[in-house]
Amino acid sequence: MSIFSTKKSWINLTIWVLIIAFIIAAPSLLPVFRLNLLGRYLSLAIVALGVDLIWGFTGMLSLGQGIFFALGGYCAAMFLQLNTAGEFPNGIPEFFGLYGVEKLPFFWEPFKSSIFTLISIWLLPAIIAGLLGYLVFRNRIKGVYFSILTQAALLVFFNFFNGQQKLINGTNGLKTDVTQLFGQMVGSEIMQRWFFWISAILVILAWFFARWIVRDRFGNVLIGIRDDEARVRFTGYNPVIFKTIIFSIAGGLAGISGALYTVQSGIVSPQFMTVPFSIEMVIWVAVGGRGTLLGAILGAVLINYAKSLVSEALPASWMFIQGGLFILVVTALPEGVLGWIRKDGLKKLLFLIGINKKLETYPSLEVNEQGEVKS
């Protein structure tokens, strides 16, 4: 029963046409280096969609999405390493030799299978997010405590992964650039073009999926949980289940995102689980527009693209710009850029500068019963 104003769908349509036109044109317009960057940022848009589902819609600010992002990345990277490992001694990835490991740790065995890997990329993070979420939500931990807890979990994972040289190459992480897939080098231009297309298609699919989740009553329950959880409970819904499901979905999306990001950046390492990176994910959504799925995508892609352009020109200044952007959004555009546009922000700005003239009273009063504008 979601009610769409025609204006909102018009804005959405315009943005979608632009996005799709750009995606189609990008491979021929951009040099492969830029295309690769764009592909990475499109994959980051998928994790942003998840952040938007749990934060924008359900009101739970998770600062630990890096955990699930990195897990997806590790799954993909280990599959690629194992896929290439035939050339190495003992038939296992090279780095194991450095630590004297001669046999593949048992839990990596199934990752020799491509189907298992494709499933575990999203299912493993989703299960871990679900378990973690269920324990947290069942004990009615929310608000700031939830944020702190997710950040603490992130640090636990970060430190654990850093310390496990024998299992996952510790701090160094797993490289994917020089691995093979379908007889091609993963870091090669042709593969990177493919990964760009896969990222672009998966972003769109992820958007449809997220849209399907929030468009009707399920999404309304999520918004209800954000606005008044007690009311949801007294209306007969169990918020714990809803929160667990949505947190798990966000975890799964983060996993897919992490896998795509890994193959395009050439490495996965515990750096994916640093605190600033997980906070950046939240900033993309805040700037794009929390509670608007399209805003999450735009925020992730545009901020990251701006980041790479600014960093190339003025290496030291990006952090200041990002901080300033965040402050600007929090103070002036609390609903993010897309939320601002949807709420007639442009029109209001024109009033401020004095280009448009304000109506004298409420629009409904200026129109008589026949729908004519009163003189």
Partner: protein, 251 residues
């Protein structure tokens, strides 16, 4: 005689030594309309918290449809047929009136069913009916946060009815309403009684009188007196604790 719908037996609630309720007994039969009044701090809201599972009583038992409700989760109690309206209107402000009601009438209330099934025609009709009862048809697509205070109160009552509960617990439904709205609310609650059992908590004497139903007076956590409004108002004990002594008496 059939057994009562709701029975509170010797309920005591203690918050760190302070007894919010002590040995409270109350019986409601199917179709009853009952008003509960009492001065601030008499335990009126705590008493609703106990029924709806928000607060676990230190002692005593709550029997609903012959089964104990103690220790059950709030959402399960809600599904068993107890609806609660809060003191200040609590609705989903960012959802439209229609969406608010849709959440209330949906069955079953499981995540999977909400994702897969669309709302049944029966439920769509029910939403229209509920909106007509509380005069909100014209606001169907307006977000609930934009409603006036009185309309929010009514929307919450409509959401309550949409849950199709056997027992409606209504906490101060006329706080902040105009006289006219108060009268309409009283009529609305009276019309709901019979099909449902309704328990109303309020301060507003005019409103309670208009409900024209048995009244329980709560004082310091237990029921001081039960009876009709006119009986209650004559009772010297009630006058003393609740209505206060008149100036002459104090002198």
């Amino acid at each position: 005689m059939t057994s009562p719908l709701l029975e509170l037996k010797q309920i005591s609630v203690s918050f760190e030594g302070f007894l919010a309720l002590r040995d409270l007994n109350l019986v409601l039969n199917q179709g009853d309309l009952r008003a509960v009044i009492g001065p601030n701090g008499a335990g009126k809201t705590t008493f609703l918290d106990v029924i709806t599972g928000k607060v676990l009583p230190t002692k005593g038992d709550v029997i609903f449809k012959e089964k104990s409700l103690l220790g059950q989760k709030e959402f399960r109690i809600a599904r068993k047929g107890i609806g609660r309206k809060f003191q200040s209107p609590r609705i989903f402000e960012n959802l439209s009136v229609q969406e608010n009601l849709a959440l209330s009438v949906s069955r079953p209330k499981t995540p999977f069913s909400l994702l897969i099934n669309s709302l049944k025609v029966k439920h769509l009709d029910q939403i229209q009916h509920l909106m007509s009862i509380v005069n909100l048809q014209s606001k169907a697509n307006i977000s609930a946060g934009a409603l006036s205070h009185g309309q929010k109160q009514w929307l919450e009552i409509a959401m309550l009815v949409g849950q199709d509960p056997d027992l409606l617990l209504v906490d101060e439904p006329v706080a902040g309403l105009t006289d006219e709205e108060t009268d309409l609310t009283a009529d609305l609650l009276k019309s709901l009684a019979g099909d449902h059992t309704v328990l109303v908590i309020d301060h507003d004497m005019e409103f309670i009188r208009r409900l024209d139903c048995p009244v329980s007076v709560l004082h310091q956590g237990h029921v001081l007196k039960e009876g009709s409004m006119s009986d209650i108002q004559k009772d010297p004990l009630v006058i003393e604790v609740y209505l206060g002594k008149t100036d002459e008496e104090e002198q």
